[in-house]
């Protein structure tokens, strides 16, 4: 298993953002759904080793990230795209991706090829020398994806990766996620249930810091038959599970 969480909890003062979440995940694409404030981003930040858990156990890539040496090794094989991608406007696309390649300690002689490959994968080859300040929001998102995959990670964490992408790019990105999911564990936090239906083999639905559903997109769809609210079957499943979780709490 690349991800093993057991009763993972994260508190901010008195607010419990992630509440005793247990989750295992191996290679493949796992969609993380949930309403705003459900705890998705906090969970992703803990998986990204940015945020230490308040309690519970967390193992990533068979290592304990609480230990500095293990955390370093996890990060070497980790890719992360945060919800709000920060960037340096004066950097070019290639410089930005190279910067992260170097910080991720890719062997220096492999960096140029890794950078070129990552940029090609997100279809930004012609813009490799463009400064980030000149790019559109969708292009910047693709730059963020490129830096996340430049080290060919075994654990990829995407927070709203398709936000700002046009339909064509979104389709291409889904294909990329499926491709990456062949060898790596890809966790995609998103509001867009169609992304989950198209690219994810599994779905986890979070509400109020807990995982209230874990299964395939088809199983989620079944939960919505005759119950949920929404235009698409998956959306109805999503809203039905959420309504059920709220009633239970």
């Amino acid at each position: 298993m690349n991800i093993e969480l057991s009763e993972l909890t994260r508190k901010f003062g008195r607010t419990v953002a992630v509440d005793q979440v247990s989750l295992d995940a191996g290679p493949g694409v796992l969609g993380l759904l949930g309403p705003n404030g459900a705890g998705k981003t906090s969970l992703l930040r803990m998986l990204a080793t940015v945020l230490p858990p308040s309690s519970g156990s967390l193992r990533l890539l068979d290592r304990n990230p609480a230990r500095p040496a293990d955390r370093r090794e996890v990060r070497r094989r980790l890719g992360y795209l945060p919800q709000n991608l920060g960037y340096y406007p004066s950097f070019t696309v290639a410089d930005f991706v190279e910067y992260f390649a170097l910080l991720k300690e890719i062997p220096p002689h492999l960096v140029p090829k890794a950078v070129a490959t990552a940029i090609e994968k997100v279809d930004l080859g012609p813009k490799a020398r463009a400064r980030l300040r000149t790019l559109s929001g969708g292009m910047l998102r693709r730059v963020g994806i490129a830096q996340a995959i430049v080290n060919e990670p075994q654990l990829l964490l995407f927070d709203e990766p398709t936000a700002g992408l046009d339909p064509e790019q979104r389709v291409a990105f889904r294909a990329l996620m499926r491709d990456l999911g062949q060898t790596a564990t890809v966790i995609v936090s998103t509001h867009l249930v169609e992304d989950v239906g198209a690219a994810c083999a599994e779905v986890a639905l979070m509400a109020e810091g807990k995982i209230v559903f874990r299964g395939s997109p088809e199983e989620l769809t079944v939960r919505g038959v005759g119950h949920g609210v929404g235009d698409a079957p998956l959306e109805r499943g999503y809203s039905a599970v959420l309504a059920s979780a709220r009633t239970a709490s």
Binding site: A48, P68, R75, R76, Y87, L102, K104
Partner: protein
Amino acid sequence: MTAVAFARSRPVRVFRLEIRHSPVLWAIPLLAALFLFDAFRTAAGFVPVWSVRASVITTAMIAEFGPLGAGLAAWVASREGRRKTGDLLETTVRPAWARQAAALGATLFWLLLAFGIGVAAVYADTARQATWGGPPVWPVVVGVVEVVTLAVIGFTAGTLVPGRFTAPLVAIGTFVASLVGFHAALKVKPGSSLSALLSPATAVPQGDAGVFYHVAPDVAIVQVMFMGGISVALLGVLVARSALYQVSYREFFSAVWRAGRWPFAAAAALLVVGVAASSTAFALTGTARLGVSGWNIPALHDAASDKPIPYTPDCAGTTFTVCVHPAFSAFLGSATAALQPVAAEIAGLPGAPVRAEEVDSGPAYRLGIGTVLLGSASPSILNGAITGTPPVYEYLADADIAPFWGSASIAASGDWRSGFEQEFLTAFAGKPGTFFPTPAQQAVITALMVAAGAENKATLTLHSASPALAFPQQDDSSGHPVGPSPAQIAAAAVRFGALSPAARHAWLAANLPALRAGTITLAQVP
């Protein structure tokens, strides 16, 4: 590791990326303009003596590079906070201190490169004009360490408070702090608090600084220790801060455990070493005392720097010889042209000098703190004096030959020449140690200057309704003029000047003791 492998290594490539994107590059034109219009022009106006010209490094250049560099460093350091890249960067393998070191290193690279070019320009211009000595190293060391320290202060501020207003506030704050230090340094004197010696910006040294005696490096060493200590301590703060990314104080101990003990051990060591260095430097300044080579700190002082620097003076003239220190060779022609005609007017009279020689102005004046020590009431120390047998006129570089704004071209001007002649004749005909000659002495000196061809239309005009004299009108405590008017003194000077040279000579030979004693009145001047 070969040079090629080093150049391709990971830290070097990150450093190169930072260099390419450093905001200091955008500020270089501004730095260049400030440098050219202030530091370089100021240095070019100083006498071409190495220590004097080098003083712009720790004064004007620091004022330009320091606060701007601190602001730029704060801007670079606050980048992760302003651009919201902290989370993303935190997931990378390289520790935060390593990427911060690259960013700070790139900032310092451009700042120090620009600073170095500035120093090279000042020194190249000085080398073109200087006739003696060589470029001093300590002002450069102090300047570099101060630029680094101010940049580290800015970088630390930008890291701890990563807002968009941090950079301008840091620039303004460091500029104000430098000014406060400078003004405190101007007032420092033996017996007062000496902590202001830690300010690199201080008064411009006098023209003969580093000429007759070495400039002791004691204070420079202490300044480097003090500022270097601040830098090292702040680097410790940065290392600790980078290991405590997004940690609240409640989570401090768990975060320390999480980060591992080495970053904190390194941070604590840097902090202790830095504070110890700065504290030691602060304590050492309290032991400073004024010696022939400037401020000496006994624990650091090398007695060898107290020995006079051997030199062979440059001299001209046979009957009346004028000598300058070789550092002032460019002024020899002007000094000779000024002194020989007036020396000829008094040749053969009792006490008339046969030679003029430049002498050391002493440590207080060399440091530019003479007026602080003695007050404005005793400017006569700046005048030359006639001493020894045979009599020799000893004059000071700063007062007579090369005021700090001086140059060889200024020395060729009428004002400069008449001032030099006036001081020479005042030393001869005036009462020793008196700055204001009596009216009779003024009339005689003025007449001799005119006879020697020194009349200058701007400062010495006798034949007009309101004559201008080289001497200032004396006032009483309430500001009212006392004694004879300039017109009365000018009339006596015209009268005395109308005598034949032989008659003037004879009168002086007979009345010189009384004239010097101040007992001859204006009416008694023939």
